[in-house]
Symmetry: C2
Subunit: 478 residues, 2 copies
């Protein structure tokens, strides 16, 4: 056969370059602790180093890999550094990276069961495994009327929950006729910003999100929730969703699910629970108290891509009534009709999410769970929590510092005994040192530093070094 | 230092197993043509072969990789087979897989410029490169008031376009107060189902999507569009968005952008253009006619993850007025505040999309563009179009077959001269053979077969073999 020229990468090159990239990553994992965690680049600096025009002719792979070192690496924040304590972790691991690599190689689309049955069935199976591993209430397993699906993020999960709640509250008429401004939803001022964003997206209006007052530990007050719902009902509004958080972003506060759940049940309001980072802790029996009351929830999300050694993106989203979710999001054009769908015997996950297309993300979860086993995952989570608790003790033992709230798990909120400007300067200098990355929040209008232990390779000496640095920098402040 | 036990994959194991996975993919690419394209599994069959419970203890990597062969592979549709002609392609390539692997290894979060400046700046730069490569109108480049961002899919792109259009039409009040059922949008009955889905999600209501009549080539009729918009205005409704398609899913019909664009401009309606698969063709000057009139558009999307050898997910979404998009989707909680954002000198891409988190997807685009060069990409696109056009000629030359519409690019709609049941049976038998995958649609209420040429390694002999098989199976039908 006389084939025309090809510009594709020949299999032998793919092997060679692929091995080189794998080795690059292994090297990166070994050297990342020594790199400045936070990049020091000015806006536009990376772009200015890139060629203004795309290449007309192909370039050698080695040049591309060298440019990653030369142009890209100085411009990234090293989320995989063991000295990374900022935001929430986005921890990765060998088995996750390789499971994801296989997904890239297979390149299948999982939008329908029929477009790759294994993609859908492994996903359902992994979500059921995780439900067992974290002792989720039975309503979230696929063997009940509910089930789980992988979303890209907890933001998308809360959006899907809100949409299903919106539809349930309006007998599925909003989807058809549009919103009418009557529905309201509830969360705490410490909930993730994605709840407010979802209100805007869903056409319900950000102003119709009630921020329910919190207690002194920054957890939602169920009595206040009940009061607001009753007031809204009396005013002719339609309460449709409460979004509670187990582990708020700012301070890891735990909303009291049992009391909130009872209020929701009494008023027929959809309860969504966001356990984005902290939900993973429920792998360990001693941390399962965070899930108490989850049996009241209509939906629940937690992110293995934060704290379970699984590459982004991987949010596990569970619903108790999958029919409500599917009815909200399903659509069936002719070109997607097929026998399996029509038989009703399969899940078509495109009906559980906003986008149509989806990659084979269950592979990386499968690899992570099998590589670590339940005991391995538990071991490392316990160690992260232990280190954060140690850190909190060090803070408490030092008169110049203040522990702002008792840390329930792996996130410590603390401040230097000085004004906000002083704490802000402390954080700036810490991050400018390149030796750690911490971030901040505000609690009771005071500037607070956050240290979150969760990167895959963070060990005691990294936390100890961070603390030594914090004390030293604090001492040097004018 | 006395470190506790670790269950993490040691770097040396990561190298070894990583090389094995790379080799597995290289082998897969070499053997995939011989595998049955469409899996033959019953619902539940894959799950039944998986252990009901997760492992308590870790398992060896080799066992996991062997299980991919044993349990997963028989259950996937081989989208990367050169004999795959179904739906739209989701073609991958060596450089894309390796760019994505690097992204997994780096594991950075690109939600803000400051959380990894290189992630944001390379993305902006690649989107500008692609704008140049496909000769997009100037309003879509980041150097204007617009710019581009990577979304997961064209579904999410049209949702974001609709949200921004909704806000622009209501002076950004819907986001605050909720929708009021007054807004309407327009598309053709042949547009992708994601437009209707987006109407439901955005709280505008699926019933408020007008399906504008099409001409005999299944393209939207601008006169009908103008008539409907005028009628809606007269009835006090608020026309907010027209979603036009260049290359509909069913038949690759091209909506006439110049005329549609003039109608939109006259009425102040946001024009979104969906070029999901076909937009990539504009890399070749001779196919740029499909973009004629794109200068009228407020937003535009095309998917390198379909036809540009770039792994899912990678939809390029461009807006002419980025301020409108950002104002619609931005949110700024305390814990995400930072100097770069406050300076206004950077893009924070979380404000250009629904989710907060985002992976470093520009790396794979960078690798693909640099590996192939513009000439390499053009070469393979031209070859795909040539093969589809050849196939169409073969269909036309055969009296028993009918070409349903002239194929503009790489998608051919055809049918066997018989009733719908006969064509349905033909498709079933073709796919059951394992030797090809084709899909179907309905045009003018008739069942039509679709053959789309776009998989990375599809060559003339694969298309020829598909045609031989189609004729043979057709002949064997009772």
């Amino acid at each position: 056969m006389n084939e025309p020229a090809s510009f594709h990468m020949p299999p032998e090159d793919f092997r060679r370059f692929g091995h080189a990239v794998v080795d690059w990553i292994a090297d990166y994992q070994q050297r990342v602790a020594a790199l400045p965690v936070t990049p020091r680049v000015r806006p536009g600096e990376i772009r200015a180093a890139l060629p203004p025009s795309p290449p007309e002719h192909g370039e050698p792979f080695d040049a591309m890999l060298a440019d990653v070192d030369r142009l890209i690496l100085p411009g990234v924040m090293h989320w995989q550094s063991p000295n990374f304590f900022g935001y929430f972790p986005a921890n990765t691991s060998g088995p996750a990276i390789l499971g994801d690599l296989l997904s890239s190689g297979l390149g299948v689309q999982g939008m329908l069961w029929s477009t790759s049955p294994a993609c859908t069935e492994l996903e359902t199976h992994m979500l059921d495994w995780l439900a067992d591993m974290t002792a989720l209430p039975a309503q979230f397993k696929s063997t009940s009327a509910g089930g789980g699906v992988i979303q890209d993020s907890a933001s998308s999960a809360v959006l899907c929950a809100l949409l299903a709640a919106r539809e349930r509250a309006t007998q599925f008429q909003t989807n058809r006729s549009g919103a009418d401004g009557r529905l309201v939803a509830y969360t705490s001022p410490h909930a993730h910003s994605s709840v407010e964003k979802a209100m805007g997206i869903a056409g319900l209006g950000r102003d119709n999100l009630r921020l329910v007052a919190v207690d002194e530990g920054f957890a939602m007050r169920p009595d206040e929730l009940a009061r607001q719902i009753a007031a809204d009902r009396a005013a002719g509004r339609g309460p449709c969703l409460v979004s509670a958080t187990i582990g708020t972003t700012s301070s890891n506060a735990m909303d009291p699910l049992p009391a909130i759940g009872r209020v929701c049940r009494e008023h027929g309001v959809w309860l969504h629970v966001d356990g984005a980072m902290s939900g993973t802790a429920a792998l360990c029996p001693e941390f399962r108290w965070i899930q108490e009351g989850l049996e009241f929830a209509d939906s629940y999300a937690f992110n293995p891509h934060k704290w379970m050694f699984t590459n982004f993106d991987c949010d596990c989203f569970y619903v108790a009534d999958r029919a409500a979710l599917i009815r909200t999001l399903s659509i069936l054009p002719e070109y997607l009709k097929n026998q399996a769908t029509q038989s009703g015997a399969v899940f078509d996950y495109r009906d559980w999410q906003v986008p149509l297309g989806r990659r084979f993300r269950a592979l990386k979860l499968w690899f992570v769970i099998r590589h670590y086993g339940v005991e391995g995952l538990r071991h490392h989570l316990r160690e992260h929590v232990r280190l954060a608790q140690e850190f909190a003790k060090w803070v408490q033992a030092e008169a110049r510092f203040e522990l702002v709230v008792p840390p329930p798990l792996n996130l410590v909120c603390f401040r230097f005994r000085g004004d906000d400007a002083c704490n802000e300067r402390l954080l700036e200098r810490l991050n400018a040192s390149g030796r750690v990355c911490l971030t901040h929040t505000k609690l009771n209008d005071r500037y607070v530093l956050r240290l979150c232990v969760g990167q895959t390779h963070t060990k005691e000496h990294h936390v100890r070094a961070a603390w030594d640095l914090i004390r030293a920098v604090a001492e040097s402040l004018d």
